[in-house]
């Protein structure tokens, strides 16, 4: 511990002690009352946050339950709200997300392995990569939409408004999340395991491949599930990538031109501003929330189940 850290702590401790001694005091009952009022305030704040979550879920269920049913999965978009469903949108989401998983897992884990196992922390380019990833995690999603539009749909890649362009854009969007989670999982594997493996004559890659990666799998999986569920719910960038156009055909490959995804279709139905369509949008939100809550719970369960203390 260096000098400045110690003095910082000392300063805080002294300030705390001083304010306590000054206030020690005169009215202990008042202190108790203030403490209770403060705790009540904390509980109030916590419950407002949770109440918001509860209201959001209840509102979607109340608005959408009348429309919720099997027809959501068997019908496609239609100009008649009574005949409309989400089949094409759900398939679109599956295709897009399938692509995201294929790209983001190897790249994300690869980048995390490089940063944790190979990169020398004191090199400026490695620090640059690190700060860069942290920043990318907080870049607005609509900016990724602009990137996808200018670089992938048009520009250098020139793929057009196809499913693959959506997959690639969303991959870039969730990569930082995957990398950060994978790094944490890899960092949690103790060095003694690596040293043991290296001492037995394994090469660096053999050590990573046979020791580090298997031990880090649950943590990596948790990160991937959370990132993928973020990609499933993401709609803003896809609006710029052509997913907002009205289509009534199911996508059949990563190269399908003209597709939509579940959240984008929810937005489209919402934007028509008719009672029936808004109800349909709410029903779509129910479907999406059920899928995402299931995925999130699975991720949290996985983390608690396999959380390893070394």
């Amino acid at each position: 511990m260096n000098e400045s850290v110690r003095s910082e702590r000392t300063r805080l401790a002294v300030a705390g002690a001083r304010s306590v001694t000054l206030g020690l005091s005169r009215q202990p009952q008042l202190d108790v009352a203030k403490g209770n009022a403060f705790l009540a305030l904390l509980l109030l704040a916590m419950s407002i946050a949770l109440l918001g979550l509860a209201l959001l879920l209840i509102d979607a269920f109340v608005d959408g339950s009348g429309r919720f049913g099997l027809s959501l999965f068997t019908e496609k978009a239609s100009s008649l709200p009574a005949n409309a469903g989400f089949q094409d949108a759900i398939l679109g989401t599956l295709w897009v997300i399938g692509g995201v998983i294929v790209f983001c897992v190897p790249i994300g884990v690869g980048a995390a392995l490089y940063l944790e196992e190979y990169a020398a922390k004191e090199r400026w380019w490695n620090r640059l990569i690190e700060v860069n990833i942290q920043n990318l995690a907080a870049v607005p999603s609509i900016v990724y939409g602009i990137l996808g539009l200018a670089f992938i749909v048009r520009g250098p890649f020139d793929l057009g408004f196809i499913v693959l362009a959506g997959s690639l854009t969303l991959t870039l969007l969730v990569l930082p999340t995957v990398i950060i989670a994978a790094r944490e999982a890899i960092r949690a594997v103790p060095d003694s395991i690596r040293q043991g493996s290296l001492a037995l004559g394994a090469t660096r890659w053999q050590t990573i491949r046979r020791q580090v990666l298997p031990a880090a799998v649950p943590g990596v999986m948790t990160g991937v599930i959370l990132a993928v569920s973020r990609a499933i719910g993401e709609s803003a960038p896809l609006l710029l990538l052509g997913a907002a156009t009205f289509v009534t055909a199911n996508p059949t490959s990563p190269f399908t031109d003209g597709y939509t995804t579940l959240p984008v279709q929810i937005f489209n139905f919402f934007a028509r501003a008719q009672e029936d369509y808004i109800q349909l949008a709410a029903a779509g939100i129910i479907v999406m929330l059920i899928v995402l809550l299931a995925m999130n719970s699975f991720a949290i369960w996985l983390r608690n189940r396999y959380e390893q203390r070394w």
Binding site: G35, A49, L56, L113, I129, A138
Partner: protein, 305 residues
């Protein structure tokens, strides 16, 4: 790191794998570069036609109507208004929740409440935008007291702000809670030993000790609020409006990009280029905030770990 323990290897495969992994990491840098390039190109041709001063300080935004006008202030103020009102809601709720989780909640309570906040953080923004429009706005209109003036418009900044506030509460709460939990117990125990009450420990010892993390969480929350698209698109409207009045309909920068980018506009027109100019402004402002917050988080990690 055990890197120095290793004998120099002549295996080419090892080097190749290292190169491949480095390439994966380099993709992130390439992404940032691509973002900058894709924003800069069209923005430069935009600023070739519209003087940058007129763009930044003009008070009339109507790129699609004749006569065209490219003063970005109305949509910047729209974004700021939503962010400001949202923070007024999210900062107290988020920080008080963080203090509760870190200093008061029993471990079991914390273990149930934290995942619930994570679930809130994982709700898709399209669902939150829907909630803002279909629940918050009608609720506000119902309870709006007369002395506050006109009741909220069907599209209004306040509903979007509250919904965005709900969205950033988990961000503020979880990062602040991290920072507070990282404060060494010695500080708490010292204060208790001097006879401090729990509230005093929380407010006068833990809170100041975790300040850099708390500020980081707020800055990150601001950055998130500024960049949020779906909620402002669905609940705040599409009327460029130079006002901080929360009951009026406004247009935020992100909503402008989404609306214009969705429509059928030809590449290379000045209207198409406005998307990139506004996007550049958005990227630069969130970049600054993100870098500040990354710095601050690093600071509290360095002090206590």
């Amino acid at each position: 790191m055990p890197s120095r323990l290793e004998a120099p290897s002549r295996r080419l495969g090892e080097k190749a794998i290292q190169g491949l992994l480095a390439l994966c990491a380099a993709i992130s840098v390439a992404t940032t570069t691509a973002i900058v390039i894709s924003l800069l190109g069209p923005s430069l041709s935009f600023f070739g036609e519209v003087p940058i001063g007129d763009f930044l300080f003009g008070t009339e935004w109507s790129p699609a109507l004749q006569p065209q006008s490219f003063g970005v202030l109305p949509i910047v103020v729209g974004t700021l208004s939503v962010t400001l009102w949202g923070l007024l809601f999210a900062i107290p709720i988020g920080l008080l929740s963080a203090i509760y989780l870190s200093e008061y909640a029993r471990p079991r309570v914390r273990k149930t409440l934290k995942p619930m906040l994570e679930v809130l953080a994982g709700i898709p923004t399209v669902a939150i935008g829907f909630f803002a429009f279909s629940f918050i706005t009608p609720a506000l209109q119902d309870v709006w007291p007369g002395f506050l003036g006109d009741e909220p418009n069907i599209f209004n900044a306040l509903a979007a702000a509250l919904a965005i506030g709900l969205l950033i509460v988990p961000i503020i709460a979880s990062i602040s809670e991290d920072a507070m939990s990282a404060v060494p117990d010695g500080l708490r125990e010292g204060a208790y030993a001097m006879g401090a009450t729990r509230m005093k420990v929380a407010l006068r010892v833990i809170f100041p000790a975790a300040l850099s993390g708390i500020v980081a969480s707020i800055v990150l929350g601001v950055s998130r609020a500024v960049g949020e698209t779906m909620v402002v698109l669905m609940a705040a409207g599409a009327t460029p409006n130079l006002t901080f009045n929360p009951v009026e309909s406004i247009e935020a920068m992100t909503a402008y990009i989404a609306i214009t980018g969705t429509g059928d506009i030809a590449t290379g027109t000045i209207e198409y280029n406005t998307i990139f100019a506004v996007g550049l402004l958005l990227f630069v402002s969130t970049l600054v905030m993100n870098l500040i917050s990354i710095r601050l988080v690093r600071k509290y990690r360095e002090v206590y770990e």
